[in-house]
């Protein structure tokens, strides 16, 4: 009966009153509490299903960054653990697995930072958990505005993700609104009068498409439609026909390569040879550009946060070289963000000095990042946790490769 009484207590007071409290994170290798010099950085990315190639590349980028620092910052030894937020039965990120990973990191006393998630929808789940635990979270790839900003967000965002009331989440990739503004500028520069917008219905793609639609309205670019596509469709010949009937002279796809980007570009081009095709950074990668073919290439325009390597600090160029040398393949686009996420985490630990094992000190150090010369260019982290990077590269495609054309200054 004692157990039942205890259960009743648990039910009504919401406290663990039964048995011993679990020590937490059995897998946490017992690296001691926050007096310790051994710190752990977790990453949580979908390592199964469609996203695997991209995520694997991000993990490689993170590893590269850690290796460059020799696995040590000051007196602290940094251990890196890669978690998978996908499950076999789902084949992609799964909400329950995301909170499992966040809990794992939160209960491991040696945790100092958490890199992830890859998907904005997933971060919406892990941010509140890690926020309560007061752990720095840096995403290499989340662009949904609502995670950090009120502008362009749903009601209640972003505050609903931060139960502790303090900010603990930041990102090294610019949020959607910046790229959308760059897109619209790019399209107007290229003489677009009327743009037909497609999106892949995902958080990233749709968010971006919606922002483009909104900003285009402010800047006098007509939007013919903003249509979600069925990413499982075999081809888009009927939709290409619709572009033709709409009289649009440009098309924009808010989405990623995995969601049939190549197919959409090919099909739209085949029926509308004179329409200019615009894509975001979600397609700024070789699996996309190398598959378009000579005809489509000529009409393709892509915004890319990665600028011309020549405009980059040499560190950026070195990253690409080092990556290829180590892994024998060119990195996927987000690898460099994974690399930078780890770099900025290590930097925050370093700046915290002796307090490098103090979670709050590291968070504070991260938010104080100013004018950092990174592989991505010079940026600061603002009070929302957003990067101040706002220059976008306007790229075209030649011989299957992205070719830098000019810099777009986003006017937000």
């Amino acid at each position: 009966m004692a157990a039942w009484g205890c259960l009743a207590a648990a039910l009504s007071f919401g406290v663990a009153a039964c048995g011993d409290d679990d020590e937490g994170g059995s897998a946490s290798s017992g690296s001691g509490d926050s007096g310790s010099t051994s710190l752990t950085v977790y990453s949580s990315l979908p390592l199964q299903g469609d996203s695997r190639p991209q995520s694997q590349s991000v993990v490689n980028g993170i590893k590269l960054a850690l290796e460059e620092s020799g696995g040590k910052v000051g007196n602290f030894t940094i251990k890196y653990t890669s978690l998978d937020d996908a499950t076999a039965s789902a084949g992609k990120w799964e909400a329950g697995q995301v909170s499992t990973n966040a809990r794992k990191a939160a209960q491991d006393k040696s945790t100092i930072a958490y890199i992830g998630e890859f998907n904005s929808g997933a971060s919406a789940i892990s941010i509140p958990v890690l926020n309560q635990a007061g752990i720095l979270q840096v995403s290499p790839s989340n662009t949904a505005a609502g995670l950090t900003r009120k502008e362009g967000a749903a009601p209640g965002e972003p505050d609903k993700y931060y139960p502790s009331g303090k900010r603990t989440f930041g990102r090294v990739v610019p949020a959607d609104h910046i790229q959308a503004a760059a897109q619209v500028t790019f399209q107007k520069d290229e003489g677009c009068k009327k743009t037909y917008v497609f999106n892949d219905k995902e958080v990233y793609g749709k968010g971006l498409a919606d922002q483009v639609e909104q900003i285009a309205g402010q800047q006098g670019l007509e939007i013919a439609a903003n249509e979600g596509i069925d990413t499982k469709a075999a081809n888009f010949r009927s939709l290409a026909q619709k572009v033709k009937s709409s009289g649009a002279n440009c098309m924009f796809f808010g989405g990623i390569t995995q969601n049939k980007g190549v197919q959409l570009f090919k099909d739209v081009h085949a029926q509308n040879p004179s329409v200019k095709l615009f894509g975001p950074d979600g397609v700024a990668e070789s699996p996309f550009t190398s598959k378009l073919g000579a005809e489509v290439e000529k009409m393709t325009y892509i915004t890319n946060p990665t600028l011309d390597p020549k405009l980059y600090p040499t560190t950026g160029q070195e990253f690409f070289k080092a990556y290829e040398e180590k892994y024998g393949a060119a990195p996927e686009p987000y690898a460099i963000y994974g690399y930078e996420a780890m770099k900025v985490v290590l930097l925050a630990i370093e700046k915290a000095g002796d307090k490098g094992n103090d979670k709050q000190a590291v968070i504070d150090a991260f938010f104080q990042t100013k004018d950092r010369d990174s592989v991505l260019g010079k940026y600061s982290i603002d009070e929302n946790g957003d990067t101040t990077l706002s220059d976008y590269g306007a790229d075209v495609v030649k011989d299957g490769k992205l070719v830098f054309d000019k810099v777009l200054k986003a006017q937000t």
Partner: protein
């Protein structure tokens, strides 16, 4: 291999029948209550998921196992239940009541937030009732159909329902999903449970839910309705001739099966802290169906075992496998073949035990009428058939 498993099975049955049922029940209950103290939090977390899946598998078992109606679209009810939780217990309708929100007996955290926030128990009941209604509505057009045709229609519903939620963003927030969802609490003004950081309390909530569902399931199976289901499964024409109302019987199966899906869906929505259309894929229907079939259709305990086995493989075992190659110095990433391993597991399970881990006695008889007649196990099997009848 099959023979070995069969022997193990019959040995188990012998041992089982040597001890009265209530002793077993008490032993399992004691183990279940002491469980959180014995395991790591990773395992506990996986177990809470298992408990939720047990409820779903038991719900599907009513439709597939008891009433014999093959359902490939069960995920629709998970979705509906989860969205009820999302609508009634989150910030989703932030503008409601002039931004003030609606609060009914809710907890300390939620009572100050905009949006609709009802008490968890009310939401659970609402979710179960609402999904039951939809279960009956979606079941109604299929009443004329049997076998694979039924499976196809339910599959189509399973595909359509999530797409509709996805496309009407006003009710679902699209792919971004409804996040966060209110935490569980029971008394007004109480501090809500602190999962995922503290898992024990929520484990007990899930456990109580499972016990409740198990109780209901057993009572249903032995009830007049339960016998009607089995009669319909065996032979619709004969059942109808014996005065069973086919329409009513089938609709009840759909409604109750769906209600359990919604019940568990609402719990999972708050436990996973999100209602996201990404979760509601055909694969999930298949996942739950596999639990029912691998466990042994129609057998409550078999289904429980199936649910635990599959969800543990998915969420715990495969994750643990990931560490092995590294620990023995191999540069091989198990995550790249997880999906295949899972498929392989399904194939092997079925080839070795095509009737599931614990086939229900009556089903064994059906499947091997000749074989069972001279099988030693037949006596035991016959005993299990009797079990289906109401107990005094």
């Amino acid at each position: 291999m099959t023979a070995v498993l069969g022997n193990v099975g019959s040995t188990l049955r012998t041992v089982r029948s040597a001890v009265p049922d209530w002793v077993w029940a008490l032993v399992f209950l004691a183990l279940a209550i002491a469980y959180p103290a014995m395991v790591s939090s990773d395992l506990l977390d996986a177990s809470i998921n298992s408990l939720a899946y047990i409820i779903m598998a038991l719900g599907l078992n009513i439709v597939v196992g008891f009433a014999g109606l093959l359902d490939l679209g069960y995920v629709a009810f998970f979705a509906i239940g989860a969205y009820v939780m999302g609508w009634l217990g989150s910030l989703h309708f932030a503008e409601v009541n002039g931004g003030e929100g609606i609060h009914v007996l809710t907890n300390k955290v939620a009572e100050n937030l905009p949006g609709i926030h009802l008490n968890f128990v009310i939401i659970l009941i609402a979710a179960a009732a609402f999904t039951a209604l939809w279960g009956a509505l979606l079941g109604a057009p299929t009443l004329r159909l049997r076998g694979d045709y039924l499976a196809i229609v339910t599959l189509a519903f399973g595909e359509i329902v999530p797409r509709i939620f996805e496309n009407f963003e006003g009710i679902s927030n699209g792919r971004q999903g409804i996040t966060p969802v209110d935490k569980i609490s029971f008394l007004p003004g109480q501090t809500p449970l602190a999962y995922p950081l503290e898992l024990e309390p929520v484990y007990y909530v899930a456990l109580v839910m499972v016990l409740l569902v198990l109780f209901v399931n057993r009572r249903l199976r032995d009830s007049r309705l339960g016998r009607a289901w089995i009669a319909v499964r065996e032979d619709e024409v004969a059942a109808s001739a014996m005065g069973i109302n086919l329409v009513r019987t089938k609709l009840w199966a759909y409604a109750i099966g769906a209600a359990l899906g919604g019940f568990s869906g609402a719990f999972l929505a708050t436990y996973k802290n999100t209602v996201n259309v990404d979760q509601f894929e055909f694969g999930f229907s298949v996942f739950i169906l596999c639990m029912v079939i691998i466990g042994g259709m129609g057998n409550i305990w078999g289904v429980v075992i199936g649910a635990v086995a599959l969800s543990m493989v998915d969420r715990f075992l495969l994750k643990e496998l990931n560490g092995i190659p590294e620990s023995i110095g191999l540069d091989f990433d198990v995550t790249s073949v997880n999906f295949g391993i899972f498929g392989f597991f399904l194939v092997i399970m079925m080839v070795l035990r095509p009737e599931g881990f614990l086939p229900s006695g009556r089903r064994r008889l059906e499947l091997h009428e000749e074989a069972v007649a001279d099988d030693v196990a037949s006596a035991v099997a016959a005993e299990e058939v009797i079990e289906v009848r109401p107990k005094a």
